[in-house]
């Protein structure tokens, strides 16, 4: 019976990236994906005939250019379409659109606040500077402050100096960015709530926090880090939906020699003598490997596939304590024609990027309050994209797909998460009701509606508690603490078992970094030989 060098459990984008790198280095790799389609939460599916939905994730941000290059992804089908606009319809009939062109943005913003329009440029510059500092952090494994190993200490010292070595105002900016709430941080730069509301919301995507919660400012960096990735515009749509990214990675992996199987459910990781030796499929078949890589989240991996009995107590406690708390859902629509926003009618360029339903900061906080106390937001924050406006491949001519990311939808609703199916309909309706306030005829043009609650994200896509990042991206679960202290470099306490998904550094989003960095560590350590 063949013994693979590596079996990758889970065909999500990180698992596929890891497999591609390992295969490229000459290892024999098998990827096993439970579903019928690859990609995990970076997946495209024809949910309704003729319409390709980016079922879960809907834009690609920060897909690492070096990974795109090294895996030759454009050659294997990756095509990115930049987001040109960020549209904010307002309840009073007005609207704000920010564009990738700074001049156009300045003009729009100056209608609300000339002062803010001027401040935008300075803000972008300041954020880019900090982004430049933060970038190396996501492109390398997390430093380990607990280690007294000289090499690790030097690394830490370098990082410390890297952080504090800056002109005073830059250092102050860094300190503020990492300790403030998104709203407080933006309050120091801008006055118009119309600008602050949609900007602040990026700080809370995928977390159970509000825009006024401390620790949400640093996520603002996200947008500005994409800028500096240069020629490879890494913030945008993927042609064919986000599944296009996963498919390109899978194509690359296959080209390098990896074997990929779908509809292969792994029941258990085979552990003998305290080390991973392979996997056991649901049907009982065993497959052997020198190393096993998990692209699943830490809970599923360690408490599901491995089993608590094989884990050291402290690690098991850390994994049990690691928080998920899914806070979002998804409503995907197939539309008969282009939706008409009353505040800015017509099929214009303002609809070719993302559309935010975030009319004010209080609105966002009330949405958060609903979730805090165990219910989905009566009036949620929505991040809507209509990719068919720029990618004709995803819908029939003249028709459209509309993808709505919804926050908040707490996994832990007060009746208990298993009650979610009973609430699914009402949840979907709340979203449509919200949209209707801006697109009065939305109900008349819906051909098909797919509603995904956090429960559905967990059941169908294996995301524990529906958390899209394989675990919250809060400071206490990042870097050397992700997923557990001392185990932040892709190794796990089980010999020959590695973690390559978003539950490893640097965490969630379609970055590919966890998968690639895991593969690097594996290859550097000679794993799988």
């Amino acid at each position: 019976m063949k013994t693979y060098d590596a079996i990758v459990v889970g065909g999500g984008h990180n698992g596929l990236v890891c497999a591609a790198y390992l295969a490229k280095a000459g290892r024999s790799v098998l990827v096993l994906e439970r579903r019928h389609v690859l990609g995990g939460a970076a997946v495209s599916e024809e949910i309704f005939p003729g319409f390709t939905f980016s079922v879960c994730s809907y834009v690609v941000s920060l897909l690492r250019p070096w990974i795109i290059r090294e895996l030759e992804l454009p050659r294997f089908g990756l095509e990115m379409i930049p987001l040109e606009a960020s549209f904010l319809p307002l309840p009073d009939g007005d609207s704000l659109c920010r564009w990738s062109d700074p001049e156009l943005t300045r003009k729009e913003v100056s209608r609300f606040s000339p002062k803010d329009a001027e401040a935008l440029g300075e803000f972008a510059l300041a954020m880019s500077k900090v982004g430049r500092f933060a970038k190396p952090v996501i492109d390398s494994p997390a430093p380990d402050p607990g280690s007294l190993h000289p090499a690790k200490l030097v690394e830490l010292l370098r990082l410390g100096r890297h952080f504090s070595q800056a002109p005073g105002d830059e250092l102050e900016l860094r300190l503020k960015l990492f300790s403030m709430s998104a709203v407080d941080f933006l309050d120091e730069w801008f006055e118009s709530p119309v600008l602050k509301a949609p900007m602040s919301v990026s700080g809370i995507i995928g977390t159970m926090l509000g825009v006024r919660s401390p620790g949400t400012a640093y996520v603002l960096l996200h947008h500005y880090m994409g800028e500096i990735d240069g020629a490879f515009r890494s913030w945008g749509f993927s042609k064919g939906g986000t599944g296009g990214v996963s498919n390109a990675i899978a194509n690359a992996a296959r080209h390098f020699g990896a074997e990929i199987r779908t509809q292969g459910t792994v029941k258990q990781i085979l552990i003998e003598g305290g080390a991973a030796r392979g996997i056991v499929l649901e049907n009982g078949d065993e497959l052997r490997a020198r190393t096993v890589v998990s692209g699943c989240d830490p809970r599923r991996t360690f408490l599901g596939l491995v089993g608590k009995q094989h884990l050291p107590d402290e690690f098991a406690a850390d994994i049990a304590r690691y928080k998920y708390r899914g806070s979002s859902g998804k409503v995907n629509l197939a539309l008969d024609r282009m939706p008409e926003f009353t505040c800015r009618p017509g099929n214009g360029p303002h609809l070719r990027g993302d559309i935010a339903i975030a009319p004010s900061i209080d609105y966002l906080e009330r949405a958060y309050d609903d979730a805090k106390y165990g219910d989905f937001s009566a009036r949620p924050y929505l991040n809507v994209v209509i990719p068919s406006t720029v990618d004709p491949s995803v819908a029939p001519p003249g028709k459209h797909v509309m993808s709505c990311f919804v926050q908040y939808a707490p996994y832990h609703i007060k009746e208990g998460p298993e009650h979610w199916p009973a609430r699914r309909e009402a949840f979907g309706e709340a979203v449509i009701d919200t949209l209707q306030e801006y697109v009065p005829d939305i109900r008349g043009i819906i051909l098909h509606k797919q509603v995904l609650t956090p429960w559905d994200l967990e059941q169908e896509f294996g995301l524990s508690e529906g958390n899209i990042f394989h675990g919250e991206l809060t400071l206490e679960q990042l870097a050397f603490l992700r997923p557990a202290a001392g185990w932040a470099r892709y190794r796990t306490p089980v010999a020959n078992l590695w973690l390559a998904g978003s539950g490893a550094h640097p965490g969630g989003g379609i970055m590919g970094a966890p998968g690639a960095l895991c593969a690097r560590e594996m290859l550097a350590s000679g794993a799988g030989r």
């Binding site: 300190l175 300790s179 402290e314 809060t474 206490e476 603490l481 202290a485």
Partner: protein
């Protein structure tokens, strides 16, 4: 008229600064705007025969090290031998009477919960030394750290590391987290969680689910000590006495109107009376905004410094209701216990919901209150047999939105709501009420001269501590104006860590020669 060093404000910070300077042989003149010494810590008679021991009766985090070093026993300062217990209501009707020392909690907690509290207490005790070191030293000079500073920082890092890997990592995990998460992990009993969390939120505008609130819980639990006998106002009395002995000139009814700044720095302070007092140096313990935006002439400071001070948030969120009572309150379920300290919230959700209303600048519909009965420990505060209660609500917005803002009607509503909260845990309080005085954040602003009416001159928040209190450029007490120093509650350590900023800023002034 001329002086050597002028200190603005005769609160605890101002008196500590003055004493530190005087004992280092500087000639000190303290200018206090109000009629009496002590600022917000002064004893006040709010109703004939009924006194407070200061606006904010919490003195559990005053920096004892400094006061011990100042040898104030000779001036009447005594310390209590233990802290009063904190009463937290429990749904069973038998409230929890919580003491910080687990060994004093016998019988209050079931054995497994007791063990959990011991573990938490042990972690806090182990990091207390490092925390105290950070609190009691000036923030490092990040621009050009001196060798000794780097050494001190390295020492602290090593001390942290020597805590043991698992403790250090526990700390890394706990510090940025929300109090809710830490408490959920560490303890099972909701009342115990409330006991640790509720008092720690005072001065923040946050609820327990906000990231960073664990830090405040940790600081309080690790560093709290028994309070001075007689509360903050006794601290003031001892400091005042020591200042007088040391030759400090204490002037009341001497509000500063503006500062005169010349080419060599601060030159003089102009009083509201018109008097001009020349000085070599000036240490202000007033709020940073007041000192740098009101007293310093406009245009003296560069815009970046002015903006930094403007962004230092000081939105008062505490309202204080003083009660003159015919008899001490009796707490339901513990009627015969001489309870001095209680909170009315039975669970963390209550704390969270109340904090929500700060976001929307509304009055809390169901406020929770923190009650202190200082007359229990200091009977001189009230006539014999009677009592003084200080009731604080920490979620009252300074700039009330809607409802017409602050008016008699809203003040009455708030008073009633706070009394109702007291009544829930201490039935009969309403019936024993002889008189009351409500101080809302705007009242606090008006009475004590602190813009925003914040009890600590600036919010307690992760981004407003240490290097960022009040800003990176100002955190080491010196200002861009030679001879002008900041040393009030809006500087490090500030907040409830009273005395520290006064001493450290005075030392910075002395070091500059």
């Amino acid at each position: 008229m001329s002086a050597d060093v002028v200190v603005l404000g005769a609160g605890i910070e101002g008196l500590c600064a003055a004493l530190t300077l005087a004992r280092a042989r500087r000639a000190v003149t303290v200018l206090e705007a109000r009629a009496n010494i002590g600022g917000s810590a002064a004893r006040e008679e709010f109703h004939p025969g009924f006194h407070t021991s200061g606006l904010n009766p919490d003195a559990s985090l005053v920096r004892r090290e400094w006061f011990d070093a100042m040898e104030l026993e000779a001036h009447g300062l005594r310390w209590r031998t233990e802290e009063p217990a904190l009463l937290v209501p429990h749904s069973s009707g038998c409230p929890l009477v919580f003491r910080r020392a687990p060994e004093r909690m016998d019988g209050e907690l079931p054995p497994d919960e007791h063990a959990r509290l011991v573990a938490l207490d042990r972690l806090c005790a182990r990091v207390a030394g490092v925390l105290a070191g950070l609190v009691d030293e000036p923030p490092p000079d990040v621009a050009a750290p001196s060798t000794s500073e780097l050494l001190a920082l390295a020492q602290k890092a090593l001390r942290l590391r020597r805590l043991g890997r698992s403790e250090m990592l526990a700390l890394a995990r706990i510090l940025p987290s929300s109090a809710q998460d830490w408490m959920d992990d560490a303890l099972r009993m909701e009342a115990a969680r409330v006991a640790l969390t509720a008092p720690a939120l005072a001065g923040t505008v946050l609820g327990p689910r906000a990231p960073g609130t664990s830090l405040f819980v940790l600081l309080r639990h690790a560093l709290a000590l028994p309070e001075p006998v007689g509360g903050p106002s006794m601290l003031v009395a001892a400091l005042q006495s020591a200042c007088v002995t040391a030759g400090v000139e204490l002037r009341t009814n001497a509000a500063a109107r503006s500062l005169r700044v010349g080419p060599r720095g601060v030159e003089a302070v102009e009083l509201a009376s018109g008097e001009v007092l020349a000085c070599h140096a000036l240490l202000s313990t007033l709020a940073p905004a007041k000192t740098l935006l009101e007293l310093v002439p406009a245009g003296t400071l560069v815009p970046s410094v002015e903006n930094a001070v403007r962004s230092f948030r000081a939105r008062g969120a505490t309202a204080v209701l003083r009660l003159a009572l015919a008899a001490p309150p009796r707490f339901a379920g513990r009627e015969n216990d001489p309870i001095e300290h209680a909170v009315s919230a039975p669970d963390l959700v209550t704390l969270e919901r109340a904090a929500d209303c700060l976001k929307y600048r509304k009055l809390p519909a169901q406020p929770w209150v923190e009650v202190r009965i200082p007359s229990r420990a200091d009977p001189t505060l009230a006539p014999e047999g009677k009592a003084v209660a200080i009731v604080q609500c920490h979620t009252v917005p300074h700039d009330l939105a809607g409802e017409g803002g602050w008016s008699e009607a809203t003040r009455t509503r708030l008073t009633q709501a706070m009394l109702a909260a007291c009544e829930r845990i201490a039935p009969g309080v309403g019936a024993a009420l002889l008189a009351q005085e409500l101080l809302t954040p705007p009242d606090i602003e008006q009475r004590y001269g602190t813009p925003g009416g914040h009890v600590y001159d600036g919010e307690l928040a992760l981004d407003q501590l240490w290097l960022q209190r009040p800003s990176l450029a100002l955190c080491r007490y010196a200002t861009p104006i030679p001879g002008l120093y900041l040393g009030g509650s809006g500087s490090h350590p500030g907040g409830p860590f009273r005395g520290g900023a006064g001493v450290l800023s005075a030392r910075a002034l002395l070091a500059a020669g």
